[in-house]
Amino acid sequence: MDLKIRGSVHTPEKHDSAEKHVTGRADYADDIAAPEGTLHAALGLSGVARGRIKSLDLSEVEAFPGVVGVLTARDIPGVNDVSSTGRHDDPVFAEEEIAFHGQPVFAVIAETRDAARRAAKKARIDVEELPHVIDVAEAIEAGYPNVTEPLTLQRGDVGPALEAAPHRLAGTLRVGGQDHFYLESHIALAIPGEDDEVTVVSSTQHPSEVQHMVAHVLGVPSNAVTVAVRRMGGGFGGKETQSSLFAAVAAVAAKRYGRAVKLRPDRDEDMIATGKRHDFLIDYEVGFGDDGRVLAMSGDFAARCGFSADLSGPVTDRALFHADNAYYYPTVRLVSRPLKTDTVSNTAFRGFGGPQGVIAAERIMEEIAYALGKDPLEVRKANFYGTGERDVTPYHQTVTDSILERIVGELEEDADYAARREAVLVHNASHRIVKKGIALTPVKFGISFTATWFNQAGALVHVYNDGSIHLNHGGTEMGQGLFVKVAQVVADCFQVDLDKVKITGTTTAKVPNTSATAASSGTDLNAMAAKAAAEEIKERLVAFAVEAFDVPPEQVAFEPNTVRVGNTRFPFPEFIKKAYLGRVHLSAAGFYKTPDIHWDRAAGKGRPFYYFAYGAAVSEVSVDTLTGEYRVDRVDILHDVGRSLNPAIDRGQVEGAFVQGMGWLTTEELWWDEKGRLRTHAPSTYKIPLASDRPRVFNVRLADWSENREPTIRRSKAVGEPPFMLAISVLEALSMAVASTADYCVCPRLDAPATPERVLMAIERLKGEGQKE
């Protein structure tokens, strides 16, 4: 008998689809054999940023060879809206008003995708153009409205506290947005069924919402619509709400023509027509003491939300929730400004506003350090949340689980921070062209959806009478390894080898009313639900054994691939067969909701987060001061995932998040022209990191001593988003290299993304300021 099962919790099990990934046998939505006669849809996008449609002439589109028909807003049987927040501000197709360049106006359905795409170009849309606003600052100036209610978080009276502070400074930080650039674009395949039914295969993180939106657009109840997704080729938040539009168009077409319809936009269309990470314009004012401790902090967080609300409310809320990052602000006032702009509606993206909050906190630490001539790390440490004192956040939640001092202390030592910083200073003193910079930044990230009701999950577990197990839950697999982690938990519950647990695709027909796989919560929620289902089946099995074999319950044990009843050991399948014959119900639905969380948004008070995840990174860079080009020389990370369910998967999340965060802060630039057109809408113009951009030396370690203080699934912690923000250390290291050109006297206020251009221009600016002095 094996002493242990294969693939239990806390083991570095490979991704369940790894072999399918490398052989090309993993099916994505576009790979599934489509039903006979499948039609293809293409979207017709607006060519102006804002205006009124005077006429829409689609005659040439309809006449194009291979075209079956066109759909406009008038052809929508239900409601022309896919607004995730129920605000009715997110039309499938523009009706009279054009709200952004690239907004879908119609769809063309044809026999082939090629014919549909070519036909879509034949539309003649006559639009009366209206003035538009692209940028956050312009929107403020033009008095544009908010797309959703702003939030204020405050503690104490910040005005007098600023007045009273020995030092005081104010500044502005511009932070660019980010395209998700999942490698698999959006896609939906809708297959019509009987009566009002339709099944949609959608690349989505939120099957239940897609289901509800498709029902809403079709004008049918949710029970008519099934949404399924086996896996996505990446999501990162971009497939939380944005999938609905594609699914809805495919479903409307499928019902109308009685044939399956696939809609897969081209990469450029995907990037133009779907939302991204919010750009922010952050104004801050901070008062602090000689020791570098913040005494008062005031921040105004204006965000480019685009034309509709989408998730901008919770995203801008989360920016405020993280504007403290790891630091205690004795007096604080934070205000969000979720601004409307005439651009695509921005949406969820890994971190969900958190990164834009954290980056402001880190800028403030940097400002204080330059103002006082200190090592920024010293300022950071002086401001860390305390234990039992200085521990209340701007939203009045007490931080009780901080392990940052230990994390930062270990990292500082392991990465040899002090000596390396000294070496950087020495290098910069003796070199005039290539300058270096180093920075250590921490992260504290709150885990839970701030919309409390989303913190629930369901799962469905069947044990078949041959002992094989079927696992299903509401979480979706986008590459993050959720499925294998949940399967490890279930295998552990039953004490069977991992390969006895069949992982199955997400479908709204099995587990209803699920939350988006988002907010890093996939494993926390779904693994708990799956565990609940498994435990329920186990309870029935124990009861059966007690009755059938006349033993007390404590003598029934699930041992590796075996069930022990008294002194008898049955192989798991044999025991299951007996239970089946004994008429035991071998299927269970499990449910979980996160305990102890609450949030009063109007008051700005509560406990929105169940716990915090922590981490820290040291980055060292070299900068060419003639061109602004740079290289990330070394990165050391120590990150907290609690007691890891799967250290290989978790490590992959940390590394991947860091590099993605680095892309956000360095080379990924969204650039709109004066006509409101996004011009960086494909990999030729929008540059995400490549293998050669990753740090020359990349040391990543999980804090293996950490355990979640809350009873989460096996004391693990969420991992998807928190490490994204560790990349802020790269931005600050670049900033230090820039600062060296002016003898570290001025905080460079390097905005993001710090493209080579922005770095060089910051150097030039510092030169200019140096001359003025």
């Binding site: 399918k20 990934h21 052989t23 490698l183 061109t627 050391d636 040391n699 221009m761």
Partner: protein, 494 residues
């Protein structure tokens, strides 16, 4: 009259394919995915920039059968005539995963898995050709593959680990070499004409056949590597019919090195030219691998980079600084032109209807010439230049005897900085001279601002690149470029 074949013939994994209905706009990727249902190869961007569609293409060359990774999304189907196309489905055998696949699994190098088949194919090509790849070779092999999930470290680790697994000599592409070559040879080399829905594609039998076809069809689109034309098809949905494919013409693939210099046939790819370029122009060793990604360099041609007339092509400024000339041909007539004179204005070149670019001649620099070429882009690899600057300088003692400076990204065409050159000519090669001459850039160029760079940044970069060239040609006792900075020791904590 040349014999005409009316189908294209190629090998797809183990199958021989003959297709009659092929249009010039058909892509290899669509054929693989839609017609053959080989869905392992993915479409990520349809513009040759993400690598999710990477396949290997084997073709007959003078040195035998040569396999290279390419982007199937912009590789036009007609151009795979007489080639062997290898997709990810062919890799895993009856005995299990290929060593590259095993290593990818063992290193946890896939997350969402969508980019993975393309990455496997690039690493497979590397595994076949480089026994123990170093960091730089691995990164170069991955230049054309984007991954959004992993951060790449495990992929790089897998590339290294794969070398310890399996033996390339036993791989089916090596053991099957002769049989595959024989098969490809048996697809005769006649002119090929194929058509679909009235759109026509021509593959001339040889250079003479091409010269005639070209003169007869001056309106035809010439397709060499399709790294630009492919996007006209996939993105602009332009109909490129009639199209004449030239990437297979051995006469246009000739590379001749002699005392006078290097002559490249117009269809020589960046990859094919690389060895000669490195040998004759060592200053381009760092520059050349920054053109496109690996897949793009295996398809794209130096001739195409010139003939498309782009103001931001990487090679024209470099070649202008070196004094390159182009050989234009119309039937049997040839014209030789200074490359800088070929570019007349934005989108306009000195080319008459029916002309085609036959070859590029790059003179061998005088031994005492100081040369440099710099590319500035947002991302180091696989990016399009914001600014590209090239310098060629000869000193007489400390005095500038001759200087040629050319820039891309600074004007509507690749162009020389004649004002700056004049300001340097005959002056002592000092920082003062350089600083003074740099102000002449303002007269030479009025760059535009766009998503790659603002006008101010471009103007500043031009001045600073001259300064960099000065520093690099003078001993200033410190590294001038990032690549000259020591890389930190790989040993970190474990």
């Amino acid at each position: 009259m040349t014999a005409i074949r009316r189908d294209i013939r190629f090998l797809l994994n183990d199958d021989e394919i003959r297709l009659e209905a092929v249009g010039p706009n058909d892509t290899l990727l669509d054929h693989i995915r839609l017609a053959r249902r080989l869905t392992g190869t993915k479409e990520g961007c349809a513009e040759g920039d993400c690598g999710a569609c990477t396949v290997l293409i084997g073709r007959l060359t003078e040195k035998g059968l040569r396999y290279e990774p390419v982007n199937a999304c912009i590789r036009l189907l007609a151009s795979v005539d007489r080639c062997h196309v290898v997709t990810v489905e062919r890799l895993a055998g009856p005995h299990g995963l290929h060593p590259v696949q095993q290593a990818m699994v063992a290193e946890h190098a896939s997350q969402c898995g969508f980019c993975t088949p393309g990455i496997v194919m690039s690493l497979y090509a590397l595994w076949l050709s480089v026994p123990e790849p170093g960091e730089a070779e691995i990164e170069t092999a991955l230049q054309g593959n984007l991954c959004r999930c992993t951060g790449y470290q495990p992929i790089v680790d897998a590339a290294r680990a794969a070398c310890a697994l399996g033996n390339p000599a036993e791989d089916f592409l090596v053991t099957g070499r002769e049989a595959i070559a024989a098969k490809l040879t048996s697809f005769d080399g006649a002119r090929v004409e194929v058509e679909k829905d009235g759109a026509r594609a021509f593959l001339p039998a040889d250079l003479e056949d091409f010269a005639e076809l070209r003169a007869d069809m001056p309106e035809a689109t010439i397709v060499a590597g399709a790294t630009d034309v492919g996007l006209w098809v996939t993105k602009e949905m332009r109909d490129i019919s009639p199209a004449i494919f030239v990437g297979h013409l051995t006469e246009l693939k000739e590379i001749a090195e002699d005392e006078a210099g290097l002559t490249l046939g117009a269809a020589v790819t960046y990859s094919e030219a690389a060895a000669s370029i490195r040998r004759m122009f060592p200053h381009l060793s760092e520059f050349w691998p920054r053109i496109g990604g690996w897949q793009v360099r295996n398809m794209g041609t130096v001739g195409g980079n010139i003939a498309n007339g782009s103001p931001i092509g990487d090679t024209p400024p470099v070649l202008i600084a070196l004094g390159a000339r182009v050989i234009l041909r119309h039937r049997e007539e040839r014209r030789i032109l200074e490359l800088e004179d070929f570019f007349l204005d934005y989108g306009r070149q000195d080319r008459k209807p029916g002309d085609f670019l036959e070859a590029i001649h790059i003179p061998r620099p005088a031994p005492d010439t100081l040369n440099a070429a710099y590319k500035i882009s947002k991302r180091r690899d696989e990016d399009i230049s914001a600014v590209c600057g090239a310098f060629a300088l000869r000193l007489d003692g400390d005095t500038v005897a001759s200087v040629r400076i050319a820039f891309g990204g600074m004007a509507a065409t690749p162009k020389r900085a004649r004002g700056v050159e004049a300001a340097l000519q005959g002056k002592p090669w000092t920082e003062e001279t350089v600083a003074a001459a740099a102000s002449a850039f303002a007269g030479d160029f009025s760059p535009i601002g766009d998503w790659r760079a603002s006008a101010d940044y471009r103007a500043l970069i031009a001045r600073n690149l001259l300064l960099r060239f000065f520093y690099e040609t003078s001993d200033i006792g410190e590294p001038v470029r990032l690549s000259a900075m020591p890389v930190p020791e790989a040993a970190g904590w474990t």
